[in-house]
């Protein structure tokens, strides 16, 4: 058998049989879900119910919002049709937890006609976003059933122009996008970091238990290094496939449980105003707001998932190879008797930093920081993954491609460097790990 294959097989087999692999495959999704849910739970547990008084000039939204969108966090109360913004403000004493929402009659229909929210204190971006989302969802709900049932993309394009809310294109519910972004980023972070460190440990193990000399009498050092990296990378891919498959299975289960047939449920007729200001009849489904959310999420995910699954492997393999080559360099150059921690830190810092930036992506996907770090090779594997749900595929596809090209360019350089250092350093025992020595060994193998 080909020697490289032998090494890959050993690295793969010994790791995949470990209990830790199975445990990690189960625990990783739980950790990710926990990390996403915990802040939300904390936020919710400290949340005071807000009351939003709606002065509704659209005639359409107020009632439905009061009926469908009131939750234990936000309670909508629709004011009588003759109420004006001044009279409401007079009648109710404004407090931190009560606010007034004024929707003028063109809200959601023509551009630049935003609703106004009045509050003594600032209600916080979360509340404003929730109110925006609620309005957005209602409009969408109305329009979906009025025009083309579930032809979401078309509607979203139209709504994007009129609803003053800049969610573009893919049709995923904004909240689902955020979760996908965070979950993707976290998954990538955990995989790149944990499998990168496994390369480090694997190389250090061979060096410290001195089997290296026996193996090197049979196989070239560079082949051994590649065998190790590929073997461990395959374990990472296997785990990735397990997690994604689990997610897709879960997704299908939810979908089958929800099993909503939208057209059959349309029986609620409402009046709504069209762009010309005339009242028209519209059909409204009797689905609950949560059911609608799930429906949208499923539809959105269906259109997003193929792109996600196509791009993610490139980002994972590139990111893993990049960091694995750094870790292999340090592993081969480290001395079993001395501590290599301080040399590992500079490698782990960009990974951790990527995760920190990725976490901000769900709040602010279009920031300059997110933009550049999603293209910069050291951070792109994680940040781009977190950004993927927000990418507008018709105009921003080139950014994804550029990030991938730059990433693989860097991989080419870093693996070449790693192979050169590894070749010499792996048999050096007397000398301590230092940047000077790494450079010395790199130059020596260039001779």
């Amino acid at each position: 058998m080909n020697k490289l294959k032998l090494v890959v097989k050993r690295e793969f087999k010994t790791r995949i049989q470990k209990k830790s692999f199975i445990i990690l495959s189960i625990i990783t999704p739980i950790i990710i879900a926990g990390l996403i849910i915990t802040p939300i739970l904390i936020q919710q547990s400290t949340f005071q119910q807000k009351t939003v008084l709606i002065v509704d000039d659209t005639i359409t939204l107020g009632d439905i919002m009061q009926r469908d969108k009131s939750t234990k966090f936000i309670k909508y109360i629709n004011m009588p049709l003759d109420a004006t913004i001044e009279s409401v403000a007079d009648c109710y004493e404004n407090s931190k937890d009560t606010m007034v929402l004024h929707l003028n009659k063109n809200f959601g229909i023509i551009k630049n006609s935003p609703g106004q929210l009045y509050n003594d204190g600032h209600p916080g971006p979360g509340v404003i976003r929730t109110i925006k989302n609620d309005c957005f969802d209602l409009f969408r709900k109305i329009q979906v059933y009025q025009i083309t049932k579930l032809n979401l993309e078309k509607i979203d394009k139209r709504l994007g122009n009129t609803c003053e809310i800049q969610y573009e294109g893919t049709g995923i519910n904004p909240q689902v996008k955020s979760y996908l972004s965070l979950a993707g980023g976290l998954l990538m972070y955990l995989l790149v970091l944990s499998y990168g460190v496994q390369v480090l440990k694997g190389v250090q193990e061979e060096k410290s238990n001195r089997i290296i000399e026996i193996i090197l009498s049979s196989i070239k050092p560079v082949k051994l290094m590649w065998g190790k990296i590929i073997g461990i990378g395959l374990v990472g891919i296997t785990q990735f496939i397990i997690i994604i498959t689990a997610a897709i299975v879960l997704f299908s289960v939810i979908q089958s449980l929800v099993d909503i047939n939208p057209s059959a449920l349309v029986n609620d007729q409402i009046q709504m105003m069209n762009a010309e200001g005339e009242l028209v009849q519209a059909n409204l489904p009797t689905l609950s707001a949560e059911e609608m959310d799930t429906l949208y999420a499923i539809e959105g995910l269906k259109s997003f998932l193929p792109k996600f699954l196509l791009i993610i492997p490139f980002l994972f393999i590139g990111g893993f190879l990049l960091y694995a080559s750094f870790f292999a360099t340090i592993g081969s150059a480290s001395n079993p008797e001395t501590d290599s921690q301080q040399y590992i830190l500079p490698v782990t810092v960009p990974i951790i930093l990527s995760m920190v930036i990725a976490a901000t992506t769900m709040e602010n996907p279009n920031s300059v920081l997110v933009y550049w770090t999603s293209i910069f090779p050291l951070t792109s594997p994680i940040v781009m993954t977190a950004r993927l749900p927000f990418i507008n595929w018709s105009t921003e596809w080139w950014q994804v491609i550029t990030a991938i090209i730059l990433l693989y360019g860097s991989v080419l350089l870093s693996t070449k460097f790693a192979a050169k250092v590894y070749k010499t350093a792996i048999l050096m025992y007397g000398q301590k790990l230092s940047y000077n020595n790494i450079w010395k060994w790199f130059k020596q193998s260039n001779k």
Binding site: R10, I215, S217, S218
Partner: protein
């Protein structure tokens, strides 16, 4: 004579340090070839070059007169001084892996390994992990994976370290057995007694250069001092009196009261018979034999001599 390895003016440098300087070695086929030298002399470097773990900067190494290529990897077995195994991996699996890396097929590896494991009484341990083994047992596994692919050239670096006397004997017998079958063995060690016991040829490397090279017998002869070791009981003064026959006393060791071991050397062409005749009057001679140079002494003498001029020069410089 047929040589399995010929190193011609081999130079190997590490950064600013020269590990081997124009080294020439010829290793006869079928011999046990001792590779000796102080720590840091360049032995391991030479071994790594033969194993193709690293490449020479100058010169060449030939395997049966052909330049070393990767085809030769399967013809060489190497047991390094610092050797280890994967602690968490099953022994059998690990041995299979290492054997296949040496180019054996899966079935062939399984068959030969089973034979060797059985021979060393280790078959029951096939599915255990290395961390469950004693040091001696791990050493046996390492020996097995070094020889399992039946290499033509076996390189053993301190093969007896970590073995108890019984296992040392077992391994020694295996080495001699392999030699009988025609395997050439390069044997690197600091244990001079084992060199005397099993080596046919030696090379002594010191400070990157070859100091002594040749068959063991010839080297011993070259370093012998024309001396005799005498073991006797009796009075030391009387024995000393007998030395007037033309001998000088080189070494004296009191074994017990009135029992001595001495080393004497004739001055000029005097016969040992004259000394014995004179000594017999008052002493009882227990044994006499011609003292040949010990490998241990040759090593120390040669290295000290080689380092001498340098040391003086250094002192002068200071």
């Amino acid at each position: 004579m047929k040589y399995i390895i010929k190193a011609n003016k081999v130079v190997k440098r590490y950064y600013k340090h020269t590990a081997l300087n124009k080294v020439c070695v010829k290793i006869p086929k079928g011999s046990i070839y001792g590779l000796l030298g102080p720590n840091g002399a360049g032995k391991t470097t030479l071994i790594r070059l033969i194993n193709q773990i690293s490449k020479p900067d100058e010169g060449e190494i030939l395997f049966f007169n052909k330049k070393l290529t990767k085809e030769h990897i399967s013809k060489i077995g190497y047991l390094p001084e610092e050797r280890g195994l994967y602690k968490k991996m099953k022994i059998g699996e690990q041995a299979m892996y290492l054997a296949q890396l040496k180019g054996m097929s899966k079935t062939e590896a399984k068959e030969k390994l089973t034979e060797w494991f059985d021979k060393f009484d280790m078959l029951d341990w096939w599915d255990s992990k290395v961390e469950d083994l004693s040091k001696g047992m791990a050493q046996k596994i390492q020996f097995i994976v070094t020889v399992v692919h039946e290499p033509e050239l076996l390189i053993l670096d301190e093969p007896f370290s970590g073995f108890d006397p019984i296992n040392t004997e077992l391994i020694k017998q295996e080495i001699l057995e392999l030699k009988k079958k025609g395997t050439t063995i390069i044997f690197s060690t600091h244990n001079m007694q084992s060199v005397e016991e099993i080596c046919d040829h030696i090379t002594l490397i010191n400070q990157s250069e070859i100091l002594i090279d040749g068959p063991v017998d010839a080297i011993k002869k070259q370093f012998s001092e024309n001396a005799y070791e005498i073991h006797f009981t009796g009075n030391m003064i009387s024995f000393t009196n007998a030395l007037w026959t033309g001998f000088e006393l080189l070494k004296k060791e009191e074994v017990s009261k009135n029992e001595f071991k001495v080393t004497v050397s004739p001055v000029g062409n005097n016969s040992i018979n004259e000394l014995l005749g004179a000594a017999l009057k008052d002493c009882k001679i227990k044994s006499v034999f011609e003292s040949s140079a010990k490998m241990h002494d040759i090593f120390i003498k040669a290295v000290a001599k080689a380092n001498e001029p340098k040391t003086t020069k250094n002192i002068k410089n200071e």
